[in-house]
Point group: C2
Chain length 483, copies 2
């Protein structure tokens, strides 16, 4: 067994024998790898797909199977929404914030409708109907939901809002698994050779070109020749504590990483041959505070009793801003008209109650005139349908003035804040891995969460952006590798 | 002329001729490079120092010449302060926040007193006296000042506070230039060969080992053999817009980079041979809002009229938190007892005035009950010597209740917010450049702002931390390279 523990590249001249030979080697069998394989096979390339687990899935299969698509889909039109490529692209760019990759936003903005058709062509079912309200995932088999901050400030002022979360038709939560199943079936039908229980441990190079990979199977190294290219589709690094410590240390205030063995191997493999990793400090987080749905009407304050966000934006954006607040916790304030018992799995606790907001303030041991003044100001303007501080919009903007009142504590360490990493390899809009000077590394492609892509900025995330990135740029990786 | 525009390493076998041969090649002639040269010469190595400008300086020469030193110096003791290695080290770690390099903090914590003696031995003069108050740099020739957040929350609760900003004895601002002059003279006296107008464009490698560098002089490439090692001492990347866009995009909200040609070349050279860059999103910024000194007693609010920091902490920490606030600006609130005309170069403007805080609030077009409620709460507790929200401490904590009142606008784009980058190569506490697996790259050393070091976290910066890092770890680079 060789020592590839630090993922150092192996020179082709040092390869003892080629155990596998193919045109395109795809590493990782989530949605990204599946889409890369489908496209590479479609272009006529031989494709082998190596997956460390015994089957497909990855973080994609743990998701809701929701893909962020806009520009005027059948479901959007049927529900009476107007969406344009321009508004959609503008929103994608705003969502990228300071980390935005404009070329990727523009390309996906232009091609998302065609991508939606492509997904259908692969067999992904869409019922095509719209489910209104503030939902995390549909609990029925509806397939279009609001999944971001489109209708909330500051986004609604710059891009006309429309719902863009397109969910695979599937009864209840958990559409990610059936989505991957459809893509897997398609990749198999097209003749992809799938090698499970094979963990990538090194890339193989010939001069500057990547010509293969070393995979470990049954504790033995096998050498894969990839005549046209290697596609990295291995996910993020949320389960690699050393990488998180080095690159994304803010996440250590949270306790619930989500993913499937996401240990950053693809990022490290890419770096081992000169690939550049960017925005490695960025992460997504969310707490299911909008469940039950009446809680979406609540108001957040930090430990100083200050509001910090328009609470009508995406639950993950609220959560990401929440974990920026000092003091290790925030409070979700609710009145009697909106409070119901929170979900157990959210691990929120009731930190204060009262007949008035002054009593809640006192129970939370905040100085007089903090939380109570915040709620007085909020209610006064909410009655007029305005939020002069954060521009929260009706109907989520509503007075909370029917006591008794409750403050739920969302504690960063104790409550359920799921999180995953967003930083990764810098790639072109054709999914080529770029070096520090911006030049593609010959033979190396990547997509999904081992790259920095559409969901580049934790504060701008919207549900479905990561799977949009995985599926669309996974396809580009397959196309480009096979070319 | 070769094409090293992307700093690709050159194989030693491809070097046409060796134009220079030495034991240790130091790249960059700020404080870091000078200290590396002094130590490498002291260890008996031949040293050549290459500097792209026509003379020494770098960002060090633009600084105040202040070095963060603690643990009980002569100046601290003479002024009646008790400081220990433990408190000093604890503060260094807190200042590193989530980005902290504990090994570097512990090493510098233990050795700072010896480092102080070493600086004196090189000829750096210290008058040894203490200047009280809230000053950015001494305006006389005093040499010990408060230069961080030691006495402010949350730091004072975890580490006993002491002033630790040790400034070279020098009349007025600008001690950085004379500090570099002293170090340059010492490096020259010891026999360092200095080659100015020589810009490093590539490293030279022999297998995994760095064995030299390519420098461009008079538009011709010269090849430097460094038998023992190359030391990178080239500063940060604040003047490289492409690198900032990729790695530190938050800085684009500000307008005043400070440095001396800091284009990140050392970071890119290190990366070109497998070095890892970390915390590239981190930056320092400050606005000279504590000048005149009575303004240090002011209160900051964001555009929602909310306070966001205990204003008694370091001016750079306040400024860094300020630029996190939404709305592109913050306000510094002052009463008649504390307001004087701000310095022109700060480019602050008077955004609102009034006989009461309600009038100021109205002039700023904030909703009634925001800024005025904030100041009511603040003044009410300040009269009791308390700040229950942010734990600001007396005497900086003082009521602002003598009208007329003023709100100064600190606009991120219009006001003077100087900034520089803090991320860079990951190095050991011996200044070895580390690869992604944490293994030293043979023959390559680095220190100062081309590395991530003691000042790792923008929100925790204290004046003198960067020069402490430059001088101390610059020395380690020289020692280790010469070994």
């Amino acid at each position: 067994m060789g020592d590839y523990s630090q993922y150092r590249p192996l020179n082709a001249a040092d390869v003892p024998q080629w155990d596998f030979e193919t045109d395109v080697a795809v590493i990782g069998f989530g949605a990204t790898g599946a889409c890369a394989a489908i496209e590479a096979r479609g272009a006529g390339a031989e494709v082998m797909l190596f997956e460390r687990s015994s089957g497909s899935g990855g973080a994609s299969a743990l998701s809701g199977g929701e893909i962020y698509i806009g520009g005027g889909t059948d479901a959007q039109v049927a529900a009476g929404f107007t969406d344009t490529v321009e508004d959609f692209t503008t929103y994608l760019k705003l969502a990228g914030g300071p980390c935005v990759d404009e070329a990727k936003c523009e390309r996906y903005g232009r091609e998302a409708l065609a991508h939606y058709q492509w997904l259908k062509d692969q067999g992904v079912p869409y019922r095509g109907n719209y489910l209104p309200g503030k939902v995390i995932e549909p609990t029925d088999d509806s397939t279009l939901i609001w999944s971001g901050s489109e209708a909330a400030a500051p986004f609604y002022k710059q891009a006309r809002p429309a719902p863009r979360g397109h969910v695979i038709q599937h009864m209840g939560w958990g559409g990610g698994r059936p989505l991957v199943d459809v893509l897997e079936a398609r990749a198999r039908d097209l003749g992809t050779t799938i090698v499970p229980d094979a963990r990538a441990v090194a890339l193989i190079v010939e001069g500057p070109r990547v010509v293969g990979a070393v995979v470990r199977i049954d504790n033995r190294d096998r050498f894969v020749s990839a005549r046209k290219g290697v596609v990295l589709a291995t996910g993020g690094f949320v389960f690699n504590e050393a990488m998180r410590r080095k690159h994304c240390p803010e996440t250590f205030k949270l306790r619930d990483p989500i993913g499937d063995k996401d240990d950053g191997v693809g990022i490290e493999l890419g770096q081992s041959v000169g690939g550049e990793a960017i925005h490695m400090d960025q992460f997504f987080t969310t707490c299911p505070w909008t469940m039950p749905e009446s809680h979406a009407y609540g108001v957040f304050v930090n430990v100083m009793g200050q509001r910090f966000i328009n609470e009508d934006c995406y639950h993950g954006r609220v959560s990401r801003c929440a974990v920026d607040q000092p003091g290790g916790k925030v409070y979700l304030l609710l009145d009697n008209a909106h409070f119901v018992q929170p979900m157990d799995f959210a691990r929120m606790s009731i930190a204060g109650t009262g007949e008035t907001w002054d009593e809640v303030e006192a129970e939370l041991e905040m100085p007089a005139g903090t939380l109570a003044a915040t709620m007085d100001l909020y209610n006064r303007h909410a009655r007029e349908g305005r939020d002069p501080l954060f521009d929260k919009q009706p109907p989520i903007l509503t007075p909370l003035d029917q006591g008794p009142f409750v403050a739920l504590e969302l504690n960063f360490e104790a409550s359920y804040f799921s999180f995953f990493t967003l930083g990764g390899l810098r790639t072109s809009a054709d999914a080529e891995v770029l070096d520090h000077g911006g030049t593609p590394i010959p033979g190396l492609f990547a997509a999904g969460r081992c790259t920095s892509g559409l969901p580049a900025w934790g504060h701008g995330y919207s549900s479905g952006m990561s799977l949009a990135d995985c599926t669309f740029f996974g396809r580009q990786a397959g196309i480009k590798a096979a070319a």
